[in-house]
Amino acid sequence: MATAAVFCLVVVVGYAGYASIYGLLTGESQFRVNIQAINILAISLMMGVLIVALHRRDQILEIAVKFENLRQNSANANQWIIQSSAIIAVTDTDGFILYVNRVFEEAFDYTQDEVVGENACILYEDGKHDYQFAEVSKTTRLGDTWSGEQSLRKKDGSLILVQGTILPIFDHEGRHTKTVAIRTDVTSERTAEAGDNMTSLLRKLQDEVFIFRADNLQPKFLNDLALHRCGLKSLDGVNQPIHEIISGLDEELIVAHTQPLISGDQQVALVSLTSDDGKEYEMSTRLHRGMDEIPVYVSILRDITERRLVDEARLASVSIVSHELRTPLTSIKGSLRLLMSGVVGELPSKARDMLVIADRNSDRLLTIVNDILDYEKLQAGKMELEFAPVDLTEFVLHAIENHRGYASQHGVELGIENSHLNAIVEADNDRLMQVMSNILSNAIKFSPESGKVVISITQTANHCGVIVSDQGPGIPDELRSDVFANFSQIEPADGRRRVGTGLGMAISRRIIEEHGGTIDFVSEIGCGSDFFFTLPLKRPLETSAAIAKKRVLSRSINTQKADTNA
């Protein structure tokens, strides 16, 4: 009985499947059924299935299911084509496009003529088509239907998100001949969902988020915590600029804070603020220029009280350790200096040589102690710079004088170029000299004997700079990122490592950044390196953070104009 029932099912399914495929591939809305073909098909199927049924009953069920799937898929496909509301493409088994419908043309901006004959991989994102296309092909070749979401490429290269069902079509002998892809454009739904998700994430973020227009500083979005700070439930009806709804801020501060973003001097502007309950905040702001939109500032206000406490505790520990190390170093270095000077008696030359080594290494140890303390100060934001006008020519001449002895030890000549320039910057002279010493001492120690280190001063409308050029072995490209990294000691092209703390250049970079300047280098293997730093002619507004740090950010907020003297 079961076998007979399966026979009937198979015949009916076979007939329906055949009719559906015929309709699909001819594109006719009314199927013209070839009676002879049906008869042949039905007889073949019955005979085939009968034989199989007699020997492999389990396979009959499998075939029946496949036919049923085929019937269902083909019927659905036919319906979609008729309704023409889905994006439909028919390809051969290798993925070459045979037919696309009108909706496809509209969705991908291709005409039928442009895509027929092309491989469907042109629709896939660069770098994705290999595995995505292979996955779909593999599925359909196995006779299965592939379903899922895809990101496909339109003619202009832009992407659309589609929900797709891709199914194989078989001929009457069960051979996979074609593939039909039925897709629906879900880009707008997904984008809206993504936007909703993003907005939801921003709303619940544990940092305060303020998005406000760059032209009139009016708020466009405040997340929940930001609204809470401003004493608002929503931004409905709020037209005041951002500094009028956040107590403790004023226009001067906002303008000073955002100015480097407009000028392009900085990508991210940072300012520290203190609330009236003693909490410390850091506001970081970026300028976002969206397409067809008015540029906006995106500010994140983060409570950094705990981080500051940790940094300060660590700095205090390092400061104590530094002091504890400096005290015995005073005795060591003092003793060595007295011994080397001969005031406590003449020493044999070999003993003096040993003392020179000990003295040099005690200097090295002192440098490490100083560098670690400086590094921790920078980390904790406790390195306070004392800005004053610095004449770069005098500054460079002073640096050369300081390093003349060291240069002569290495047989290196020091020179200056463009010393006629009247380049004056506002800087912390001592800290700038620390940077210069790092660069210059590196240039000297990496130079060949009888080499020359040239220091040039540069000046543009808004910046002055110093370039230190050496004739050293050069720095390989792959080590570029290590040069300014913390505790990094690079191995130069000549393979000879020189002593150092591995912190000097990292500290130098931070010092220059604190000045609102930049530091970098260019290098060529075998030809030497040019290390340079540039500084703004005027003290950068951002580095007046010390002033901003004293600002009080009040928690008790209202929408009235804030007291700018807070």
């Binding site: 400061s319 530094s322 002091h323 400096r326 005290t327 015995p328 170093l329 005073t330 005795s331 060591i332 270095k333 003092g334 003793s335 200096r337 007295l338 000077s341 005031v343 406590v344 002192l366 100083n370 303390l373 100060k377 306070e384 004392e386 001592d430």
Partner: protein, 147 residues
Amino acid sequence: MREISILHVDDDDDIRTITQIAFSLHPEIELTQFGSGEEAVSFAATGNADILLLDFMMPGLDGLATLEKLRELPQYKNTPAVFMTAKAEKGMKGILMDAGAASVITKPFDPMTLGDTVIGVLKACSATSQILELDSPARPDSAIQTE
């Protein structure tokens, strides 16, 4: 001939030894050393000095407290004070100068130049005091900063 008397306070024995050798290069200097602020203050009641050389970080009376106690004694009211400190922070120097230091020497120091440095500070302070006295004899005592 001893012309300059220096009162030196440092709790570190080795540093006192190095300082003593450093000043021995200058025959004109008479050095009196103490290992704590308390000892220095008790001696100072009966003694005198042209210049004070004080370690900043000491157990018990630290450098600042020692200076404060010494300033209570009339003979040390205007004596120039030089601090020696292993705390290298710029802020620390400012604190010490504000507290009335004539100069601050950072440890480690060079013993070969220590004597000249201290004598230089003393001379600068003397010169400034004379100018101040000429300009305004009634002017109250103030800290003199040479750096």
